[in-house]
């Protein structure tokens, strides 16, 4: 057994991507898990969050202003998508949101927007102010194969703190009467309407709040990489978040966090195991190391299908909830 594979997997599972995707999934969970909104364009909120920060700093604004701009842009985006679509049936929202995500990516990438966004090359080195705030002395922390330098540790610290704060926020929201109304909407919109609830306003709020949390995730990822490029924000990111939400259990508080940790652990572990196997020639000449990426996705697809078939409630969900028929 090569322990390096395991330590790499653990490193990813506790690292910045896992924290960022936990955050992103918390936002999606509020929309999909609690309110029942099929938002297939969640990546768009990550994009506007990241670009809101990058552009603001690039134009000479402060990092704090940039973060506020990123979140505000995502809230506004929620409003913009929600107003024309939320009165329609759920599947229309799915179609429109997936399109919005792609349109935003292409607009940001276009030469028309290049004066602001620098087109497909994106914007770099906009998070120096963030790293200047790092209170952790230089050095390597941790033992065994699991050591992080002060830079990685700082981003992780901030990232997981954000995950904690956001979870507390969602906890407060969802256990309140507000949360009960959005769950009622998930179960049956017309019933909620017949009881005097303004379904449209609640859905809009859910879309905007979830978008703001998604923007935070985008900002965290962008800060960690000191880089935003349009082609990072492909629809696949939304589907990562959906996988994580379903893995953890839709409509559960800790589902997105545990889902993200497990998702990234398995993702990295599979990568390591397959790379090792290919290099040792276990597949004969059948597979090359370059084939591992696509195979990993195929395995994830199978895993997701298995999950939907045998454990649709995810890790934290209650099985009896899933056995209840819709009406």
């Amino acid at each position: 057994m090569n322990w390096g594979i395991l330590s790499d997997a653990i490193r990813t599972a506790v690292g910045v991507p896992a924290a960022a995707y936990a955050l992103s999934s918390i936002g999606l969970n509020l929309q999909f898990g609690y309110t029942g909104l099929l938002n297939f364009g969640h990546v768009a909120s990550m994009l506007v969050g990241a670009y809101g920060l990058a552009i603001t700093v690039d134009l000479g604004g402060s990092m704090w202003l940039g973060i506020v701009m990123g979140i505000a842009a995502a809230v506004f985006l929620g409003l913009l998508i929600g107003i024309p679509t939320l009165r329609l049936r759920a599947d229309y929202l799915a179609i429109v949101t997936i399109a919005v995500g792609e349109i935003l990516r292409l607009v940001v990438r276009s030469s028309w927007a290049a004066p602001l966004t620098n087109g497909k090359y994106g914007i770099q080195r906009f998070a120096n102010a963030f790293f200047a705030l790092n209170p952790i002395p230089a050095g390597h922390y941790g033992g065994w194969d699991l050591a992080f330098d002060q830079r990685a540790l700082w981003v992780m610290l901030v990232g997981w703190s954000l995950v904690g704060l956001t979870t507390a926020f969602v906890w407060k929201l969802t256990r309140s009467p507000w949360g009960r109304v959005i769950r009622a909407i998930r179960e049956d919109e017309d019933a909620a309407r017949s009881l005097g609830k303004n379904v449209f306003a609640y859905k809009l709020q859910s879309l905007m709040i979830g978008g703001a949390i998604g923007a935070l995730a985008g900002i965290l990822l962008a800060i960690d990489q000191q880089n935003v490029t349009p082609d990072t924000y492909i629809p696949l990111l939304t589907f990562y978040a959906f996988t994580i939400v379903i893995l953890g259990g839709p409509g559960t508080l800790f589902g997105p966090i545990i889902g993200s940790v497990i998702f990234w652990f398995l993702f990295e572990l599979m990568d390591g195991i397959m790379t090792g196997a290919v290099l040792k020639g276990w597949f004969g000449g059948l597979l090359d190391t370059t084939d591992i990426g696509p195979i990993r996705f195929a395995l994830f697809g199978i895993g997701l299908m298995w999950l939907m078939a045998f454990r649709p409630q995810g890790i934290f969900g209650k099985r009896e909830e899933m056995l209840i028929d819709g009406r």
Binding site: L173, S176, R180, A184, A192, R193
Partner: protein, 277 residues
Amino acid sequence: MAAEISPLTGVAPKPGISKPDPIVVADDLRRFFGGLRAVDVDHFEIQRGTITSLIGPNGAGKTTLFNLLSGFDRPQQGHWHLNGGPLVGIPAFKVARKGMVRTFQLTKSLARLTVLENMLVAAKDQTGESFWGSLFGRWRHIEEVNTAKAMQSLGSFDLAHMANEYAGSLSGGQRKLLEMARALMVEPEIVMLDEPTAGINPALTESLLRHIMRLRDEGMTVVFIEHDMDVVQEISDWVVCMSQGQIIAEGPPGYVARNKAVIDAYLGEHHGVIEDE
């Protein structure tokens, strides 16, 4: 029984007749689905504080009329009032807040909420239901008051022992009861029940009807769609019969049961069989 004290005594049994104290008044209400006239009502009034049952063969437009009055559907034409206030163009949730609450023919229980949560979500004036109120508001006291009220209501509908079960685990009849109990949590002035007794066993139906009569005696207006003529005869103060979108007869239950237009409407379309579903 109710006829002696009924405010409808002396009102002529004529389609579209005016009533002494109407809570709902509708005029020129038209709803077409393509070429089909689903609702085509010239004038219609519902007397406050009475039980009015809406009967008629399948496809007569009863549920569509409910949908129009409660804001769940929009007519091509017409205007209607609740307590004198116009309801044209008012969205369904606001109609409910104004005091007109309806239930559905296909029961809409909120399956993955508990029975108690189903009740609590219907309660009015819970400040914790607004976004800021949920974060910073003091909604716990309201919640306690509502919970006590909900438990009492669940008790009278024989559902108290199910309070913490998922609504989706209830039987079809229990869901009907829950839906009615939930509608009453909104404290409506007028409640419109779409086939409240469908799928409920006879013993439970009896208690449900007593419940409806008690609501009337407390001053609530009840309108319900019903196919079971025994039920209609037993509790109605007034019966309205629709056929092909129009009101073809209305009057006290005894009158409507003998009305030729009513008998024709049922016999003509259903070959003498009065179905209860």
